[in-house]
Symmetry: D2
């Protein structure tokens, strides 16, 4: 064993982390690459070969898809998490999942440092590092080290370093934007997307069909939830149901993606205070968000829902900003999970031309009482009470307007 | 002038308020009908003739469309108001507008009472009456009077009363649901819709095309806002812009409706605590909601936005529950309007097959700084600072996990 | 057994509920009186004799002090519940405790109705009845029945009814205000207190000494909490500790009362929308509120605390308004209890001349790190990080002021 | 004029900023000292002489007391600002006031840098610098520069530097804690106070009498507010009223201090995530906080108050964390000021032995309606309505418990 200090590097196989790998070796570290499979479309064996060829002592490839789904995506569905009213947090959820794998690997491999390739203006550095700091002491973030970022100004410098160090350059010309993929979504940013008034080209999208090419017939699905978790996906035409979690999510991604569902183009506020423009595709996540919201409306008490709504907005902010491993997230997650005991039932949705439409819903725990609400039946409800209700509410308003009028 | 006490009746020309009109006369009141034009599709002259023929002393038909748009719809757009994450409040906004007209008429006509046909389980009775109580003393709500509701159990009794009193019955067979229309939306509820698991028939929708019949080419629009109010609508193909408020809204309703935009099917929580199922079509409102949200993201500071988000949820609840005329609504509306000073700029949207997609946005007051956020430029931002930022945030987290670990 | 329908009457032994007892019998009911001992100073056997003499079929006297403390007062201490920044909710907490006893009795005794003597403008009717409605169908509230309240206009009518029905009148002249007592507090309202600008006389106070007569030496106590519950009270002079819950609370009431602690004089907002003026004495509750708050500051993470603070304000509103038995209260109580896992430790307080002063605090679960915060040691903290933290926070501010300046 | 770059130094005359002054000169800067008079007890002329003797090019002494009161303290009183339920923010309010003076001086004097002596773990560095960054580019914070803090480890190093540079050492032995004073308060921290379980010695307190030495008779005052601002202070014994703002505050400080009012001993959460222990004396601020709260209860609608309560907690956090000059603070301050239109009236308070007691209150804008609330009068209120109010509220609760029971 060498005397060098060991680093676990979050490795993607791409140009940036390949350069960082070589640079860390150049700095005298023993580098173990860590590559998590969280559902991205990746040639893992070629990434492995490349890492070893570039000098990594070892590469760990870990299949975290089940953990990502159960421990990160499902809590987000239960929470109804959405950042700034629009973003379903696909990248934000992946980061603590990977960080947790990195820390486990670092402990197992007795590595002193964890390193990653996230840049110095983005959210991912924060998400990686806050997760790591909660569990492990030391981080090397080359993109924040002047020694590194002053050497690699612009991509041209990276290309030159790669050429000089026998790091293979991407064979296909790089898209004029960057992207990040996992089971839940693909995000796109930078490059030509940095102008927020410039429309993204149709060719950018990888998980979703365009409205034009999406099928001309809807797919109707029934999605069943238990305690807020999706547990069954049934195509009502075929009557086939999928209940295995990963298969369910993958299948829903495929169907919803085919119908062009889940694209957004937004300006968002990064944790570091910058506004940035992002484009996201989240097919299954979008369908589940809407179906879950609809089922909550059926089974959750109005006032519980209001309280949960406050909590979930805070929870979404915490996820976005990288506080997955934090006292407040632990707390808020327990609260939100408490609220989900009643979220059982089935929602019928139509997927068509980019849209999720709710067609119907039912639940054993429904708080909807058809007899009570019906226009054609009293259902034990006395309309006279509404008069008292209204007049009692009006007491305060009358006082206010009386004083307003008197003192004008 | 007769010695009878005078009632101003919110009259729609339909069966219910016609029966109430006759019934009030039967009870010895002089009835003045009040019919507000808030953009619904209505034969006002035939309603007028009918009211007078049934014995109304007078009918007042008032065009409130401009007031409805400026004083109710625009504040709602500025506020980003949405009830329980989905409902754009079309009916809720109309009620205080009409109530305000009723009160003005009651004062002008020296009427002691205001009456309406809203039923005893719904929200509209609350919205009408709270608005009235803030401004005028006395309400007659026949649907809450045992004398009335025990006499008219079920629609059959109304039909018989109508027949006996020469009240014309609707010539077309009534749809098996009820609906309510105005400039902003049409709502549908009751009847066959009372089963929340039963899909609404396509034939129900009046303002929006089906996905199938919607045009196969998108319409691209540029919507310009000033202080959060829509001030211009430009079709980027024709380059024609509409700036007159009512024309802008009507045109956007037509275009968005043609593309099938703005349908929702939800279970919602009424103020009286019942869950009900409603279906809504809000074409222009839906487009403006999304465009305004997008422009806020560009021009509003992140933390201001968070505070406004709390306020707007409260504001939406207040509108839904009928507290338009209340001290808290006065307060919150002023706060929200304060937040809109910066919401100037233009959003480019595509309308197609039921979807509003944001294509781009720009503003003189944009807080988006392309140079600052660019991956290819420092823009005065020092990545080293992010390290301090992260480590400082981690201090608290480390302490928490340290204590957790020590005391486990 | 008689054929009359049975009523369980919340009976206090006072004039009002005695009259209601007689009136209910007059109306043909069989009445079972229910009198809960929740720590008020009361002659229970004389109340029993009186009820039976007036015609009650039975009187149930139940000692609910332990339940009141454990199931109502302690949750309130854990929650840090305080209504409108000042009121510690002594009466509000007692009502659901009594209502729960009433419902249990009604079920046991097979009684169809529950009745109480709370008046028609107050909060207590709401608190009693919402609790009952959650668990039992039917309420008789005489003070809201026109038949009753039109008969008993003003106290003189009650006196005459009492005289005519052999109901004993109070032997001592009634104070010109009303009051309500339990283990936690005494409340005073009405009568001369209805003028909010009129100071309450010193003679009003029953649980607390005046500042003038309070001892001229402080008492120093150490209060120990476990999961937010007070578990030990130690006088540091005598070193004697009380750990039995009821004894602890009673003793603290005595000590704090002697030092004149826990008086407030406030205008508050009733649930029905009226403002009312109340005076309260809550000796032990005040001390525990402050000690618990102090311990939370030591052991609870800042961000958890912020979230809990939102929840506890909502929780206090729910208690005040009578929603103890409600879905939202169930939910929020579980959330708050989750937050209390860390609230272990000891707080040292001085009680003196109406004041609770915190002298010191300690905990095994303290998140206070003396080495970290010390001015004289780095404690693993690098001051350089603070610079990055500040500059990163300033990015957003600079952008805002840049745009402000450019567009002025 | 020298070619050196100019620094404006926030100078206090104490050891730290004297050393920084000398050190900055040693580094080649021209230093202009800036010393704000915000009501602290200070020998300004001796501080001036000292600064010049040590080499400052100039010293600016600016009387900011009126600005501090009007622009910082009054907004805080209007807001009811209190951090973490206890701290009245005396230091937090002073920092942006001083920073604003520093920036004005820097612009006037054409200085490139602003420097201060705040340490690297505290809140004040953040407050100073965020304020400066909003308005001025560059900061030198010696206590965060390794060159500085590695040279001055511990106070002994400062003493040696002082001795070597002819900087006068404090003549009186330094207290074993540090303190910071202004018009509003004195804060104490560090040294022996760093142990949160160690009681502070009575000798520490400078603005407030001990309970023992406080007068044995209360002082009764009437405080009048206009739009939430204190505008008159009347001693009801002498009937003398003070209306000049600064005199009012100084006088109230003196009276309340004499009665021992406004001491707290707390553990608080610093912005940087550390818990620290602080002791504060805020005599006048404490009285005004309570009086203002009481007047709001009388004149502000319940629901407005709830919304304002959320805003004021956020506002207090912003002040504490140094965001006085920020978009969100601008926004929230406007909202809070909007809420204060109705906060007019007079509160009568008793100051005695450390306590502020409210004796009564009155207002032209009072929403308290004695006739309406009176137990002895109906006042236009129909008790029957309360029954409908309660039963309507119970609809939701009954549904919940019905479903709970059915599915158990």
């Amino acid at each position: 064993m060498s005397d060098n200090e060991r680093v676990i590097l979050a490795y993607s196989g791409g140009l940036d982390t390949s350069c960082i790998l070589v640079w860390l070796i150049e700095k005298g570290y023993d580098v173990i690459c860590y590559l998590a499979n969280i559902g991205q479309n990746e040639d893992f064996s070629s990434a492995e070969a490349k890492a070893l060829r570039l000098g990594a002592k070892k590469i760990i490839i870990e299949d975290l898809r089940d953990s990502f789904l159960n421990d990160y995506v499902w809590p987000s569905i239960r929470g109804g998490l959405i950042y700034e009213d629009r973003y379903l947090l696909g990248t934000s959820l992946a980061r603590p999942c990977i960080a947790s794998g990195l820390v486990r690997a670092a402990i197992r491999e007795n590595a002193k440092f964890i390193s990653h390739g996230a840049t110095g203006k983005g959210n991912d550095q924060v998400r990686f590092e806050l997760a790591c700091y909660s569990l492990h002491p030391t981080i090397i973030a080359p993109w924040r080290l002047p020694e590194f970022f002053e050497r690699f100004v612009g991509r041209q410098a990276l290309f030159e370093y790669a050429a000089a160090n026998d790091i293979p350059l991407p064979v296909t010309p790089k898209n004029p934007w960057s992207c990040d993929a996992n089971l839940m979504h693909i995000s796109y940013e930078s490059g030509i997307l940095e102008n927020p008034d410039q429309e993204a080209p149709e060719s950018l999208y990888q998980m979703t069909s365009s409205m034009e090419t999406a099928p001309s017939d809807p797919t109707i699905l029934e999605i069943t939830f238990d305690k807020g978790n999706p547990v069954s996906l049934m195509n009502i035409q075929t009557k086939e149901a999928i209940t295995e979690q990963l298969a369910l999510f993958v299948s829903l991604n495929e169907i919803a993606g085919r119908h062009g569902i889940g694209r957004i183009d937004i300006v968002e506020n990064r944790f570091l205070g910058l506004k940035s423009r992002g484009i996201y595709e989240t097919p299954a996540g979008t369908v589940l968000y809407h179906a879950h919201l609809d089922l909550e409306a059926l089974t959750m008490d109005r006032e519980v829902r209001k309280i949960k709504q406050q909590l979930q907005q805070k929870m979404a902010d915490l996820v976005y900003c990288g506080f997955w491993f934090s006292p407040e997230f632990d707390f808020i997650r327990q609260c939100v999970d408490t609220s989900q005991k009643c979220v059982n039932g089935t929602v019928r949705v139509s997927l068509f031309k980019g849209q999720v439409r709710i067609l119907g819903r039912r639940s054993q725990l429904s708080l909807y009482n058809q007899e009570l609400v019906s226009m054609d039946a009293h259902g034990g409800y006395d309309p006279v009470d509404a008069g008292g209700f209204i007049r009692a509410h009006a007491v305060r308003l009358k006082e206010y307007y009386r004083v307003q009028t008197e003192t004008e």
